[in-house]
């Protein structure tokens, strides 16, 4: 069955590259200009009506984001992955939220986590997971997570010894917490 899908897609998009094929699974890569077209074709004429996920991978060495639309044909139990590379700088990807309302949530997440903009999504820019995030989108690979965590959440105090007595207060079982320390400083 997946052969038929493949043939159909090859006729319409002669430039597509095959990434992987199994008996009910097909992963293709298309040009970025043809991406939305390919997803639409899969939905309207090939029966892939369910959008499972839109995922992004930061291919920083290629200077691109790889976006993958994962579609499912529930009746035939087939899965189709359509990937495309979009340039990393000011990344703009066509929105599919008019076709699948569920796409809106994925697109908002990608906007927040990678800074990929989906013009046409009516809810773009609304807070999704990070409330009021002002830094660089945290899932980009040039985002220094550890440095950020240290800057925001304070230095983590590493242990110099492995003797637990150093870290447990005078009262057995009571931790020498910052709260306790504050109180001692006050005294």
């Amino acid at each position: 069955m997946i052969d038929k899908v493949k043939k159909e897609l090859e006729i319409r998009f002669p430039l597509l590259k095959l990434v992987r094929e199994q008996h009910n699974y097909l992963h293709i890569k298309v040009d970025k200009a043809a991406a939305a077209d390919a997803v639409l074709t899969a939905k309207t004429s090939l029966g892939f009506t369910t959008l499972q996920l839109i995922s992004a991978v930061d291919r920083i060495e290629n200077g691109a984001f790889q976006l993958t639309w994962i579609l499912e044909n529930y009746d035939e139990q087939e899965i189709l992955l359509i990937s495309a590379y979009f340039p990393r700088k000011n990344c703009v990807v066509p929105s599919l939220s008019q076709i699948w309302p569920a796409a809106s949530a994925f697109e908002r997440e990608l906007f927040e986590m990678f800074g990929i903009s989906f013009p046409g999504n009516p809810r773009e820019g609304e807070d999704f997971l990070l409330e009021g995030w002002k830094d660089m989108p945290p899932m980009r690979r040039d985002f220094e997570t550890e440095e950020y965590a240290r800057r925001t959440f304070g230095e983590r105090q590493p242990r110099e010894h492995t003797d637990p007595r150093q870290y447990i207060g005078d009262v057995v079982g009571e931790w020498n917490t910052p709260m306790g320390r504050n109180r001692e400083e006050e005294k």
Partner: protein
């Protein structure tokens, strides 16, 4: 509807009465049923026949209004911290915080995450830490017995500390909660 005056400092009650009250408080700890991280999985068995926390007078309450103890059960995202502060400030005095797992002590395995805080004590006054990743129910019961001991001796005063050093805690909280929209007092 809330009052925006900080509440009056509790005066010293008569010794004997205070002692009886402390005994009562220690033997009837009601826990807000609110889980933040993996550790809350280990809280559930506490109510079952194997560990049976009811024999110590510990019970789960579904609403913060009626609870005494807030258990921070593991890693805390900044988004959750906002809700936790809300919950903590709705608990009526006296109130205690118990923190589970290494995540609350120094960040644990999420020390370099962009969205989970490292040292809980900077944001909320913790009375008892229970170590482990994740702590077993026995360890949590041990933590409870430590809390009981502290309450009986009148040393579980995190809530007073929070009230007196509110500015310190607020400053820390505002540092990591980007879109701060809590009222400054909501006791």
């Amino acid at each position: 509807m809330y009052c925006n005056q900080p509440p009056k400092k509790p005066g010293d009650k008569k010794e004997v009465l205070q002692k009886i009250t402390n005994m009562a408080r220690a033997n009837s700890l009601w826990v807000t049923a609110y889980g933040t991280g993996c550790g809350s999985i280990e809280l559930r068995p506490l109510g079952t026949s194997r560990f049976d926390m009811e024999r110590f007078g510990i019970a789960m309450r579904p609403t913060p209004r009626q609870a005494d103890v807030l258990i921070i059960s593991g890693y805390l995202a900044t988004k959750t911290l906002k809700r936790v502060i809300r919950v903590y400030e709705q608990i009526q005095d006296p109130k205690y915080i118990m923190a589970l797992g290494s995540c609350t002590i120094n960040g644990g395995m999420y020390f370099d995450s962009y969205n989970t805080l490292n040292v809980l004590d900077k944001y909320l006054p913790v009375d008892v830490y229970v170590m482990g990743c994740m702590p077993r129910p026995e360890a949590i019961i041990d933590g409870f017995s430590l809390l009981m001991k502290k309450i009986k001796e009148g040393r579980a005063v995190g809530w007073k500390h929070y009230r007196e050093n509110l500015d310190y805690y607020r400053e820390n909280q505002k540092q990591i909660i980007k879109n701060w929209d809590l009222p400054d007092y909501n006791w």
